[in-house]
C-alpha cells in the first residue's frame, strides 16, 4: 500500500520528519518497506525562460540559448531540440542535476561554445502526458508561461512528496487506505484525526432526484450495501494538478475528473467506487445479482470473461455491466461524451470477491480491498467524499438524494478485557493508564473499571475481539522494547519437560556421520520433479502413482518424487557437467506414492536414504561394504537376494530383506537404459535404504560372549565349485561343519581359469578355529578340516584344489 507524507499530513498534524514517521510506523507493525523521494532526481532542476536563441557558429544542428533561471541569473544552454522558441518556459537542469535516466549534468563546451545545463523533456523528469500536458511530446517540455521563473521544478510540477510503500498485514484491511494509516499515525503521535471534508453542494434548482436517473435492485446476499448518487452536467477533463499529483505519487495513472475521483477515494478512504455513464445503463436499472452461467462481459482490460453463478455482477436490463467489486465493463464506462454519471459505492462479501478474482485471474485495486473486507459504514464516507470532490473540482452538479440499500449492520462492539490477563499474556506490566491511553488513541473508546477494560471497538476494527487482541494493540504501541532488558529466567513459570530426540532423525545422524567419514557429500534436492520420473527410472505407474501439483511453476517441478534415484542421478549428471569427478553423494528425504488417483486421501510418504557413487574403480562390493557398515548400526537381521528394482542392473544388484522378507534396502549398479536416460555413465552405483523401517527397530543392544584364553588356530583351504554356488552357501556349510570350534571364516581369494574348468571357480577360505577350554591339537584341527571338506563336497560338489 502506497501513501504519501503530504496526504497523511492533510489528515494529521505531523510534527516529525518523514524518516522518523517511517520508523514509528514500522515499530507499530505498519512496516515501511520503502521510502521513495519523488524529488530524488529533480535536484538542481528549475523553471527557466528562454530569452534569446542564436545559431551555433560551428554546428548546424545546435542552437545557443540565453536562459533566465530566476534571481537575476541568466545562463547559456545549447540544445538540439527543435520545439524551443524565444519566450518559452522550460525545465532547466543545471550543473549537479542527476536525472532519472542516469544523466548527470555538468558544464560542457560543444564546438567551442559553453553550455551550462540542459532543457528537459517530460521523460527526463520521469513524467508522462497523463500527468502533465506536453510531457509526452518528442522534445522539450514546454511549461505554462505563468510559472514562476527560478522555482524548483519539483514544486512547480508538484513532484515533492515522500511516498511510503507499507506492507499491510491481512488483519488490517482498514489500513488499505490513507485514512486507515492516518489513524495509526494519530495513535502513534497522540493526535486527533482532522475532520475530513464530506460536504457537497446539491443542485437545488433541478427537480430531478437520483431516482430519475437510476433505480437499484439488490438480488444477492453477497452485496451487503449498495449506495448510488448521480451527477449531471459532468465535465470530463484533466483533473487539477494537485489531484493528479496525489494519484501519480501512489502509482495510479490520472485519466479524467470522474475516473480520478473514484481512484482518489479508493486510495484515500479505502472505498472502491465505480462510475457509470448513465445513458448506458439500460432501463436506468441497476441490478446486483449473481451471474448466470455463460454470461459474458468485456472488461476494461479488454479481455472477455465468461461468468458463472459464483461471480457477482452489476447488471442493467441488458446484462452485466461490471464484475462486482473486481473490474468494470467497457459498455458502461465513463467516456469523453459522458454527461450524467452514476457513482456506485458498495460493500460486498469478501469471500465472493476473492473467489471471483482468483477464478478469473483478475486483481485490481478494488478487488484487493474488497477481498480483505471493506467495512459497511465505509460506503457512506466514500460516496460523500466523491461528491465533495465533484463540488470541489466543479466537474458536475450533484443530484438530490442518495440510494442506499443496506442488508448488514455494522456497529461499534463492546469488548471487555482483563488487565491482569493482558499483563500475564505480555509477561510485562503495562500501567493501566497507559493501556487506556493507547486504546483511546487507536479510536477504541476505553474505560478501566477495576480489573476490567471496557472497550467500544469501532466497526473498522473487526480484528479486535478479545484479551489477546487488546494485548497486541497495547504492546505494539507501548513498545516491544520493554523486553530489551527484561529480567526473566527461561520458563520461570512453566513446567519442566523432557526433551526427546526423534529416533529416525537420530539414526539419520549416525548414518550421515558414517557416510561423511567415508568421503560422501550430503545432498538435498527438490522433492518436486518432472512428471517423466517413472518413465526415466523404468518404474511402473500403477505401483508408483504420481502425486501431481495442480498449480506448478513449471513441468520440471510439477510432481512429487516417487524415487530418490531421480534426484541423485540428476545430481551426478549436474556435477559431471561442471567438471566434478569421483562423486560420492547421499541424500535423506521422502518419496511419495498416491494410494489412488485422483487422490482422495493423503499419499504414502516413505523416508529414505539414497547413496550414489560415480568413481573410477568402484564396484558392487565396495558399495556393499558401505551398506553393511550402515546396517550394522541397527539391530536388523537381514539377508540379501537379487534385486528386482527396475532401475538397477538385474545381475549386479541386491535387495536387503528382513526376517519377514520385507525389502529395507536395495543397491547395485544402475541399469544401462536408466544411465542413458539421465545421461550419466553406466558404472554409477546406487543404494537406497528405508530409514523409517530401520528406525522402527529396537535400538541395537549387545550381549558379549566369553572369549577363549587359548590362541586361535587357522587353516587355509582352496576348493573348486560351480559358478552357481554362492559364497554365502559355502560359508554357512563351513560354519556348521566346524561346530563349536568355529571362530570365523572368510574368503580371501577367487580364481577363475580354463585349467580348472568352464563355469567353475576356485575359492580360497581362511578358517579360524578356537576352543574355549584348551589349545587345539593338530589332530583335532585336521579332523575339523576334513569334516569341512567332506561337507563341502557332499553339499556343493566342491573339490579340493
Amino acid at each position: 500500500m502506497k501513501v504519501t507524507y503530504n496526504w497523511l499530513k492533510e489528515m494529521v498534524d505531523i510534527d516529525i520528519s518523514p524518516e522518523e514517521l517511517a520508523e514509528k510506523l514500522t515499530s507499530a507493525g505498519m512496516e515501511v518497506e520503502e521510502i521513495i523521494y519523488q524529488n530524488k532526481h529533480l535536484h538542481n532542476v528549475v523553471v527557466g525562460r528562454i530569452i534569446k536563441i542564436e545559431k551555433h557558429p560551428q554546428a548546424d544542428r545546435l542552437v545557443v540559448c540565453r536562459v533566465d533561471i530566476g534571481g537575476g541569473k541568466v545562463t547559456q544552454i545549447l540544445t538540439a531540440a527543435t520545439n524551443v522558441f524565444e519566450g518559452a518556459v522550460v525545465p532547466v537542469s543545471l550543473e549537479g542535476a542527476d536525472l532519472v535516466n542516469g544523466v548527470k549534468i555538468q558544464k560542457t563546451v560543444m564546438r567551442g561554445v559553453e553550455s551550462c545545463g540542459m532543457f528537459c523533456s517530460g521523460e527526463e523528469l520521469g513524467i508522462d502526458e497523463n500527468y502533465y500536458e506536453g510531457a509526452g511530446v518528442n522534445g522539450i517540455l514546454i511549461l505554462p508561461s505563468n510559472l514562476k521563473i527560478g522555482q524548483p521544478i519539483e514544486e512547480a510540477l508538484m513532484l515533492n512528496d515522500v511516498v511510503y510503500d507499507i506492507g499491510i498485514t491481512p488483519n488490517r484491511a482498514d489500513c488499505m487506505s490513507v485514512i486507515g494509516i492516518a489513524r495509526e499515525v494519530c495513535a502513534l503521535l497522540g493526535k486527533e484525526l482532522k475532520k475530513i471534508n464530506l460536504n457537497y453542494d446539491i443542485d437545488v434548482y433541478a427537480k430531478d432526484t437520483v431516482r430519475n436517473y437510476v433505480n437499484v435492485d439488490v438480488q444477492t446476499e453477497n452485496c451487503y450495501r449498495y449506495m448510488a448518487g448521480a451527477v449531471t452536467d459532468v465535465k470530463i477533463e484533466r483533473s487539477p494538478l494537485w489531484l493528479r499529483a496525489r494519484l501519480n505519487a501512489v502509482g495510479i495513472k490520472p485519466i479524467n475528473t470522474i475516473v480520478d475521483i473514484t481512484n482518489y477515494v479508493l486510495i484515500e478512504m479505502g472505498q472502491p467506487l465505480h462510475a457509470f455513464d448513465q445513458k448506458n445503463i439500460n432501463g436506468s436499472h441497476i441490478i446486483v445479482r449473481q451471474a448466470q452461467d455463460g454470461e459474458t462481459i468485456t472488461a476494461l482490460n479488454h479481455n472477455e470473461y465468461t461468468l458463472t453463478e459464483e461471480n457477482m455482477v452489476i447488471a442493467d436490463d441488458n446484462g452485466p455491466m461490471v464484475i462486482a467489486g473486481v473490474i468494470g465493463g467497457t459498455n458502461s464506462c465513463i467516456t469523453d461524451s459522458t454527461q450524467i454519471c452514476v457513482f456506485e459505492s458498495a460493500v460486498f462479501d469478501l469471500k465472493s470477491i476473492r473467489i471471483t478474482s482468483r477464478k478469473l485471474g483478475v486483481r485490481t485495486d478494488s478487488s484487493a480491498r474488497y477481498e480483505k473486507g471493506v467495512n459497511v459504514a465505509n460506503a457512506e464516507l466514500g460516496l460523500a467524499r466523491a461528491l465533495h470532490l465533484v463540488t470541489q473540482l466543479g466537474c458536475g452538479k450533484v443530484t438530490r438524494g442518495i440510494i442506499d440499500i443496506c442488508n448488514k449492520k455494522n456497529e461499534a462492539r463492546e469488548v471487555v478485557g482483563s488487565i491482569k490477563l493482558i499483563n500475564e499474556i505480555l509477561g510485562a506490566t503495562v500501567p493501566t493508564n497507559e493501556m487506556v491511553r493507547i486504546l483511546n488513541n487507536l479510536g477504541i473508546q476505553t474505560k478501566a473499571l477495576g480489573d476490567k477494560l471496557v472497550c467500544k471497538v469501532p466497526p473498522y476494527r473487526e480484528d479486535v475481539e478479545n484479551d489477546y487482541d487488546l494485548a497486541e494493540e497495547i504492546i505494539r504501541l507501548y513498545g516491544y522494547d520493554v523486553y530489551d532488558n527484561i529480567n526473566y529466567n527461561l520458563f520461570e513459570n512453566a513446567s519442566i519437560t523432557e526433551g526427546h530426540v526423534h529416533p529416525r532423525l537420530n539414526l539419520e545422524r549416525k548414518f550421515r556421520n558414517a557416510l561423511v567419514e567415508r568421503g560422501f557429500y550430503e545432498n538435498i534436492s527438490y522433492t518436486l520433479v518432472t512428471g517423466k520420473i517413472n518413465e526415466m527410472l523404468l518404474l511402473p505407474d500403477d505401483e508408483f502413482k504420481i502425486v501431481r501439483i495442480a498449480n506448478p511453476i513449471s513441468e520440471s517441478i510439477s510432481c512429487m518424487r516417487t524415487s530418490m534415484a531421480h534426484s541423485l542421478f540428476q545430481n551426478v549428471n549436474y556435477n559431471l557437467s561442471v567438471g566434478n569427478k569421483d562423486l560420492r553423494i547421499f541424500e535423506f528425504g521422502k518419496v511419495f506414492r498416491a494410494k489412488s488417483l485422483p487422490m482422495t486421501e493423503l499419499p504414502i510418504e516413505d523416508n529414505m536414504l539414497a547413496i550414489a557413487v560415480c568413481e573410477e574403480g568402484y564396484d558392487f562390493f565396495k558399495l556393499k561394504g558401505v551398506v553393511e557398515s550402515l546396517l550394522n548400526k541397527t539391530s536388523l537381521k537381514y539377508k540379501l537376494t537379487r534385486s528386482t528394482k527396475p532401475f538397477l542392473h538385474l545381475g549386479v544388484s541386491a535387495d536387503v530383506l528382513t526376517e519377514n522378507n520385507e525389502v529395507v534396502a536395495s543397491f547395485g549398479e544402475i541399469h544401462p537404459t536408466v544411465a542413458k536416460n539421465y545421461d550419466i555413465p553406466a558404472n554409477v552405483f546406487y543404494c537406497e535404504v528405508n530409514t523409517q523401517h530401520l528406525a522402527d527397530l529396537h535400538e541395537k543392544t549387545y550381549v558379549v560372549k566369553a572369549i577363549s584364553k587359548y590362541p586361535i588356530v587357522e587353516r587355509d583351504i582352496a576348493i573348486v565349485v560351480d559358478e552357481e554356488i554362492t559364497v554365502e552357501e559355502l560359508l554357512n556349510s563351513i560354519k556348521s561343519a566346524c561346530g563349536t570350534l568355529f571362530y570365523e571364516c572368510y574368503l580371501f581369494d577367487i580364481y577363475r581359469h580354463n585349467s580348472i574348468g568352464n563355469n567353475k571357480k576356485s575359492l580360497a577360505f581362511k578358517i579360524r578355529l578356537s576352543d574355549i577350554n584348551k589349545t587345539l591339537t593338530d589332530e583335532e584341527v585336521s579332523n575339523v578340516i576334513n569334516k569341512v571338506l567332506k561337507s563341502l563336497s557332499y553339499k556343493h560338489g566342491a573339490v579340493l584344489r
Binding site: G427, R476, Y480, Y488, H500, I524
Partner: protein, 341 residues
C-alpha cells in the same frame, strides 16, 4: 712387571678405543680380536699369571679381570652408540614426503542439515521434543486448524501448491503443530523441522525450502518466555553477543504476533552488506498461540497458553555460512558442498 704391563695395556687400548669414530667403527672388532683373541695381548698377559708366586696371583687376577671388563665395556658402549647412529641413518634414508596426500576421503554434511542438527541439539537441551508430520497435508491442518479458513485473506501471505481442493503440499511446518496439539496433553514443548513448499522462486526464495517450528503449551506462558527462549536459541546459534528485537506483525495462528530481528552475526550490529546496513536481520516469526487455535485443537484456552515460533533453515544457513544464493543448496555442486568440511 706384569702389573705395569697390564696397566699400560689398559691405558693404551683405552686410548685406541677412544680414537675410533663412526667412520672407522669396524676397527672395534679388530681391537677386540687384538686384545681378547687367542693370541690377543690380554690373553698373552693372562698366561703370565702362571709364573707368578701364589700370593700375588689374586691381586694380579683381579687386575686382569678389571682390565678385561673395563675394555669390554668400553668397546660395547661404543658399539651400542654406533648401532644407534646406524639405525638413525637407516630410518633417515627411509624418509617419505609427508606432504603426499592420504587416500582417505572425507565428505561433508549439507549446510542445511548442519544447521538443523545444531538447532535440534539446543532445543532438546531446553526440553523440546522433535516431531515430524507429512509433507503432503490436508487443507485442514495446514490452514483451517490454524485459524485460516478457506478464502481468508491471510491465505495470500503464502503462495500454496495445491494437489486438489482439500490436499496440498504444506506451505508451513506449522501444520505439524496443529496435528500435535490434537494428540498431546499440555504441558509440552515440541519442535517440528522439515521441508515446506511455496510457489515462489528467486535468489532468496526456493519452491522447496526448510522450516523449523517451535511450540510450547503450558499454564502461564507469556511473551517474556518467548523472549528469553529465543534469546538463548539465537545466542547459541550465532554467538554470545547476539541480541534480538521484537516487531509487531501478523499471523493468523498467533496473537500477539511478532517478527523477530536478530543482530547481524557478520557485523555484530554495526551494519554491513549481509544486513543491508541495518545491523539487524529479520529471521523469525513468532507469537502467543491464538486461543482460537488452542480451542480448535481441543485445548482449554482458559487454562493453557502457548507460544510458537518458526524460522527458515535455508535463510539461517545462508546467514551462518555467508551464502548469497538459495539455489546453491539444491544444485548440490561438490564445489559448494566441500566447503562445509
Amino acid at each position: 712387571m706384569l702389573i705395569e704391563d697390564l696397566n699400560k695395556l689398559k691405558e693404551d687400548i683405552g686410548k685406541e678405543i677412544d680414537k675410533v669414530n663412526y667412520h672407522i667403527r669396524k676397527t672395534l672388532a679388530d681391537i677386540r680380536v687384538k686384545v681378547f683373541g687367542k693370541s690377543g695381548s690380554l690373553t698373552a698377559l693372562s698366561k703370565g699369571m702362571r709364573d707368578l708366586p701364589n700370593e700375588e696371583k689374586p691381586k694380579v687376577g683381579a687386575l686382569i679381570n678389571e682390565v678385561r671388563s673395563f675394555l669390554e665395556e668400553k668397546i660395547s658402549n661404543k658399539e651400542k652408540a654406533f648401532e644407534e647412529q646406524e639405525l638413525v641413518e637407516k630410518l633417515e634414508k627411509e624418509k617419505i614426503d609427508i606432504t603426499e596426500p592420504s587416500n582417505d576421503k572425507v565428505g561433508a554434511p549439507h549446510p542445511i542439515s548442519a544447521v538443523l542438527d545444531k538447532l535440534t541439539d539446543i532445543c532438546v537441551s531446553l526440553g523440546f521434543s522433535v516431531v515430524e508430520g507429512p509433507e503432503i497435508e490436508t487443507d485442514y491442518y495446514n490452514f483451517e486448524a490454524l485459524n485460516t479458513p478457506k478464502n481468508h485473506p491471510a491465505r495470500d501471505m503464502q503462495d500454496t501448491f495445491f494437489i486438489n481442493e482439500n490436499i496440498l503440499v504444506r506451505s508451513q511446518t506449522s501444520a505439524v503443530q496443529a496435528r500435535e496439539m490434537e494428540v498431546r496433553k499440555p504441558p509440552f514443548k515440541i519442535i517440528c523441522p522439515g521441508k515446506t513448499y511455496r510457489n515462489d522462486s528467486d535468489s532468496t526464495h526456493s519452491p522447496v525450502f526448510h522450516q523449523i517450528e517451535g511450540l510450547v503449551v503450558d499454564e502461564n506462558i507469556s511473551m517474556a518466555d518467548l523472549k528469553t527462549m529465543l534469546t538463548i536459541l539465537m545466542k547459541r546459534l550465532f554467538g554470545e553477543d547476539t541480541t534480538i528485537r521484537f516487531r509487531p506483525s501478523f499471523f493468523p495462528f498467533t496473537e500477539p504476533s511478532i517478527e523477530v530481528d536478530v543482530s547481524c552475526p557478520n557485523c555484530h550490529g554495526k551494519g554491513c552488506q549481509t544486513c543491508k546496513g541495518t545491523g539487524m536481520l529479520e529471521l523469525l516469526g513468532a507469537g502467543i498461540v491464538n486461543p482460537k487455535v488452542l480451542e480448535i485443537s481441543g485445548i482449554d484456552s482458559k487454562k493453557y497458553r502457548g507460544f510458537a515460533f518458526g524460522l527458515g533453515l535455508d535463510r539461517t544457513a545462508m546467514i551462518l555460512n555467508s551464502i548469497n544464493n538459495i539455489r546453491n543448496f539444491y544444485r548440490n555442486d561438490i564445489r559448494f558442498l566441500n566447503q562445509m568440511k
